[in-house]
Amino acid sequence: MSQTQYELNKGLAQMLKGGVIMDVTTPEQAKIAEAAGACAVMALERIPADIRAAGGVSRMSDPKMIKGIQEAVSIPVMAKCRIGHFVEAQILEAVEIDYIDESEVLSPADDIYHIDKRQFKVPFVCGARDLGEALRRINEGAAMIRTKGEPGTGDVVQAVRHMRKMNAEIRKIAALSEDELYEEAKQIQVPFDLISFVHDNGRLPVVNFAAGGVATPADAALMMQLGAEGVFVGSGIFKSGDPAKRAAAIVQAVTNYQDAKLIASLSEDLGEAMVGINPNEIKIIMEERGI
């Protein structure tokens, strides 16, 4: 990937800011998401809650299904490939996906190496639990970062933990003196130039969204107030009672994330939220995949 292409890819993530990216499994759901104000959709065969329930190996979606969703909407379409599965990524690039999510939600294909994302023209988003993970993914070529959270649980606690941790680490690095940065780069196992960028700018070099367990307008606004630049909602929408209404309410809550009065009215009569599961009730911990 050329530097110009990387800038364009980071730029697309900047255009998504302040928006909500929604998981969809059919063209019909994609249309509902677009009409509700999604700034992009994530095309996948099963949403994380169902992947969790089904168990087994979870892979990239059928390209035909992805194409159906691309034809159904005018907003950007993203899709997931397995961690380290660069051929799934090549396939997604061949069908001209707008963004690839190298995702811990699917079963990892490589337990050591992530995809060398610099070899691709198409942009990648990756999950991270802390600053070290985020900068390692960026070093591999990711043009956007999201918190991992714990997908498919409807429980926002891990997304909160990851966002707080990342921002606390960024603040710490911003406060270090120049000569302390070399040691910090060694400690969190990332290149010096990326640490240096964080030190000078007080933020990641790419856009950072929240993901994992967001189920209500309040959850979305919480993540925005904690410093997320936008929100992914996976199982939270199409596992709820009234997907269109809940999706639209989450979109508005992300725009006006500091207006409690508005979020109060948006939170009324949304029907049933997805049934949540606690982290100590689940067998598969997805956030530990790919660090």
Partner: protein
């Protein structure tokens, strides 16, 4: 001067950074505010409609009750700088699409005219009187036809990608994604002359 930047969704911080950097070296007092609700539209001297997703922004303009007031302000002549999705919001018609938004700019716009993200590109071109401006196109639209009173600022491969009509500037590309502030400076000069014009007419 008070510049409002539509902040319902998209790359509004980038525009704010451009305006702030100009303000830091300008003799004029320039203030920047983010517009998220109807009350934010008061006392503006200029408005910027940023890039992002036009479907989202168009929906939020309506849901948040901003649409009518914003349209009225632009029609009254409030200087407006619109980039990418912003251009789509201003367009009078969209190609092969019954949807329209503010419809204050007499042009027809083709959305996603260069295809998906793999079609995004950069190129350098003159924009009006500004020479060699870096044009950044991200899943960009272009203008397929423009009304007779519309001034064409720039074209790329025979497609119109920048126009000016009365106090509206509509661009298919992203000047806020560069370090070049000349287009924003041009816009602020328009705002300044609009302010002084309002003062002389009382």
């Amino acid at each position: 001067m008070k510049i409002g930047i539509l902040a319902v969704q998209g790359a509004f911080i980038e525009h704010e950074a451009q305006i702030t950097s100009i303000a830091a070296r300008s003799v004029d007092q320039i203030e920047c505010i983010q517009i998220r609700q109807r009350k934010d539209l008061e006392d503006l001297d200029g408005i910027i409609l940023p890039g992002g997703e036009s479907t989202v922004q168009g929906k939020l303009l309506r849901d948040l009750d901003l649409f009518d007031d914003l349209q009225k302000l632009i029609l009254q002549g409030l200087p407006t700088l619109a980039t990418c999705a912003g251009l789509i919001l201003l367009a009078r018609t969209l190609e092969n699409d019954p949807v329209k938004h503010l419809a204050t700019l007499p042009v027809t716009v083709q959305r996603n005219a260069y295809g998906r993200q793999l079609g995004s590109f950069t190129v350098s071109s003159d924009v009006g009187d500004i020479n060699d401006f870096p044009l950044v196109f991200i899943r960009a639209p272009y203008i397929t036809s423009a009304g007779p009173e519309t001034k064409i600022l720039t074209t790329v491969d025979h497609h119109i990608v920048g126009v000016e009509y009365k106090n509206q500037i509509g661009l298919a590309f992203h000047p806020e994604m560069t370090r070049d502030t000349r287009i924003h400076e041009y816009f602020l000069r328009k705002v300044k002359s609009w302010c002084s014009c309002l003062q002389c007419t009382g």
